[in-house]
Amino acid sequence: MTATVATPPDPTSQLDADGQAQWQRPALLTFLGDTVLIFRRQLRLSLRNPAWVIIGLIQPILYLAFFGPLLARIAKAGALGVSAHNPYSFFVPGLLIQLGLFGAAFVGFSIIADWRAGVIERFRVTPVSRMALLAGRVLRDVVTLTVQAVVLVLAGLAFGLRAPVAGVLISIGFVAVVGVTLSAVSYAVGLLLKSEDALAPLLNMVMVPLMLLSGIMLPMTLGPHWLRAVAKVTPFGYIINAMRDAFAGHYFNTIMVEGIAVSIGMAIIFLWLASRAFVKENA
């Protein structure tokens, strides 16, 4: 990216003249380059303090260990309408989504800390792409989430999960796309609210019903008609159904199309909305 630019002999010289060539870079390249810069900074910070990455993993693994065996028993009794010989292919996709819901949705707290430290403002005064301030962070969260998802699937294998590799990869892809949506929304809302006290109840109010209605723990088909109707209008159920089909090795059906459409559609819409919060003139 910088190969075409002549290096000024004196590092104290004003940047204007030598910087010109680089300012002419296409906007997309600038955005991507800045995204990588911010991504690397945020990733380095995560690695420096990996406690949150580990804490985020502990919860689904606890579910796997302490709730999974109960579910497996019930499934074997045939009460759930899920595969009796491989109940974990039903359960692990749910935990993957739970990981995404609670891992990515709470990143908004970190943007408030960044704002309070003056980091956001400092970067907003530089020529850095403001959209990259969001995209670099979202990318870091997606990478973190993907690593967590891989660890969770491996733990699931230890408990008796059996699933095709392609299906697992597709499911992790779904988790990553859900991560994009939730992390972008969380950052935007955090940046708009600028208050942890306002963000925490808001997230709980939104995320808990969304999680319950997505059928993470039990299939929604067990529910009464009205509950299924409510669940139909929330997005995560479609995604989780597609993930369960992928784990079962069914890749080409309407459930998969619905899952892909909902997850990618949400990611595009919310990424766009969130980027407006980052790009707007005043913040």
Binding site: P8, G19, A117, G118, E121, R122, V125, E281, N282
Partner: protein, 351 residues
């Protein structure tokens, strides 16, 4: 050649369906290589003006050119050419991540200004040297002292050798030693690199020591501007105190008619006067008194402070609003725009 030029810059906030004019038509010109101080109490509109000039806040009216770029049409051009050091104490802090190391912060700063890795490394080593940060490169920001962190904030604002630097309350919250140390660094910026510096402060000493020119802002308008010395002289005159042997009443009668004497008061045998160009008037005064055989015990000539200037201009002391150096940091910051509204709204009731 002017590097900052603003005409009619204004910013209105709407709070609870009420319009609050935080800044109401600021005109200002800053020449290349000048150090200009923006002086005013909390809520006067200092930070709001600075945030407009640095592209953080869009003006509701007015135009400005900063470093040759139009503020409204080419904000990215402005950003490329300016350095900005935010206030360190307040709702938001100076801009460093507590868990990043000094060299990480400086390096990414260079990279977001599109400097090559090699240029950035050269600048980082130069700046760490110039701002006494050598040896701290691998320390996390949270482990730095207040003065060190502030010097890092300034180094971040300078990484791309900007032609103009905006410093928002550069020394607020620092102890006196760190403060005068930082003053030296700021002064040497201009001396060595010719950098233009625009700073806000509510420390009068700071404006006095650092600035070539001072703009005084109050209620969102610039109410006075000038060289600190000239401003002080123009507005208040010098304070001359003479202690006489014997009859101070007779001396008072003589001096009251002396050209340039504005106010005169007697306390025992001390005569206190406000005199225009006191240092020039004094020899003549002494001669006149001598001719009338009045002898003196002591002579005192005091320059008015910018605080006196502010008092004369606004009827309020700047110190009423400004925090003491060791005061309460939570109250010491200039309010952000949201708070500006409250501060302004509450102003009519204030004395």
């Amino acid at each position: 050649m002017s590097i900052i030029e603003a005409q009619g810059l204004a910013r209105t906030f709407t709070a609870r369906k009420r319009k609050v004019e935080a800044v109401r038509g600021v005109d200002l010109t800053v020449g290349g290589g000048e150090i200009v101080g923006f002086l005013g109490p909390n809520g006067a509109g200092k930070t709001t003006t600075l945030r407009m000039l640095t592209t953080l806040l869009r003006p509701t009216a007015g135009t400005a050119t900063v470093a040759g770029c139009d503020l409204l049409r080419d904000p990215v051009g402005v950003r490329r050419r300016i350095g900005y050091v935010p206030q360190a104490i307040g709702v938001t802090a100076g801009g460093t991540d507590p868990n990043c190391t000094v060299s990480e912060e400086l390096t990414i700063q260079g990279r977001v200004y599109r400097m090559s890795a090699a240029d950035t490394a050269a600048r980082v080593s130069l700046l760490t040297n110039q701002l006494d940060l050598t040896g701290l490169e691998s320390r996390q920001c949270k482990t730095l002292s207040g003065g060190q962190r502030r010097r890092l904030d300034i180094a971040l604002g300078l990484i791309h050798s900007p032609a103009v630097v905006f410093l928002d309350e550069p020394t607020t919250g620092l102890d006196p030693q760190s403060r005068s140390n930082l003053w030296e660094h700021i002064a040497s910026l201009r001396e060595k690199l010719g950098t233009t510096i625009f700073l806000t402060t509510h420390y009068l000493e700071e404006a006095d020591v650092l600035c070539d020119r001072v703009l005084v802002i109050d209620h969102g308008k610039i109410i006075a501007e000038g060289v600190p010395d000239e401003l002080k002289r123009r507005i208040s005159g010098d304070v001359v105190t003479l202690s006489v042997n014997g009859d101070s009443g007779r001396a008072e009668a003589i001096l009251a008619g002396y050209p340039g004497v504005r106010e005169i008061s007697v306390d025992g045998n001390a005569i206190r006067m406000t005199v225009e160009h006191g240092e020039e008037a004094l020899p003549g005064m002494l001669r006149t008194l001598d001719e009338d055989a009045i002898t003196l015990k002591s002579i005192q000539l005091a320059r008015p402070t910018l605080d006196d200037v502010f008092l004369t201009l606004t009827g309020r002391s700047l110190r009423d609003d400004s925090p003491s150096a060791n005061g309460h940091p939570a109250q010491s910051q200039e309010p952000r725009p949201q708070d500006d509204e409250l501060a302004d709204a509450g102003r009519p009731g204030r004395s």
